[in-house]
Symmetry: C2
Subunit: 143 residues, 2 copies
């Protein structure tokens, strides 16, 4: 079993292209936030994005962090992940269908490729299923 591969980093120009292509103005704040959240971040919360921004960008307000994250979600460039152990939304740059493993010992979230999971159910016979969420909770096995 191996987690899904990480996104590669993007140049600023590439990020601008992505924003423009999605119909969003590539403002300095948005590009900065995208650099983190679409490439380097690992399921960050809004708070984590804000802390990163404060350390790596002259000025980004809380409102802009939330506005930008919501914008990226609306544009389909980012996915919200809500897990039961916290009220904070986590943001996932992996927009392909996948599942999650939540490591309760480290608070880390790992993407699980659907190929690693075989799921079969007659639930799909009675209902028109649009999405199946699977989250594994646990901790790393001792070696």
């Amino acid at each position: 079993m191996h987690p899904m591969k990480r996104k590669e980093s993007m140049t600023v120009d590439k990020i601008k292209q992505v924003l423009v292509a999605s119909g969003a103005k590539p403002t300095a704040q948005r590009v900065a936030i995208c650099k983190y959240v679409l490439c380097d971040g690992d399921h960050p919360t809004a708070e984590v994005v804000k802390v990163w921004a404060d350390q790596n960008f002259p000025m980004v307000s809380r409102a802009t962090v939330y506005n930008t994250l919501n914008l990226l979600v609306a544009k389909g460039l980012l996915k919200e992940v809500k897990l039961p152990h916290t009220n904070k939304v986590m943001y996932d740059c992996n927009i392909d269908h996948h599942y999650h493993f939540y490591n309760s010992a480290t608070d880390a979230l790992v993407d699980i490729d659907p190929k690693e999971v075989v799921m079969k159910s007659n639930v799909t016979e009675k209902y028109d299923i649009s999405k199946i969420e699977i989250t594994f909770h646990g901790k790393q096995r001792k070696k």
Copy 2:
């Protein structure tokens, strides 16, 4: 496919027994809330429990609703369910392991018997899994 069977209703005496057995004083408010949430309620939120209480009991405060729900969860008589479409916690009187189908058209939640789902993954090889959550999202199939 059929949802898991509903809990049967309980007499007030039976509810008192359950509370006492779990080490909680069977106060009037608790018994009333239990009657609803352990028997009649269908994945209610705290708000729904409060509305029901206001209509069926002389006086229950918001604090007592929350206190009682948290108590029942702590005693293992009730399960919290947190789904991504809302921030409100839903309470599930089915404390056996099961999955969920969330009907986005009606906002209803249906328990799914694990027997109805075959799930196999090598995630369990690498990790020490304590819980697997599966939630199907969709709507009722047109007949």
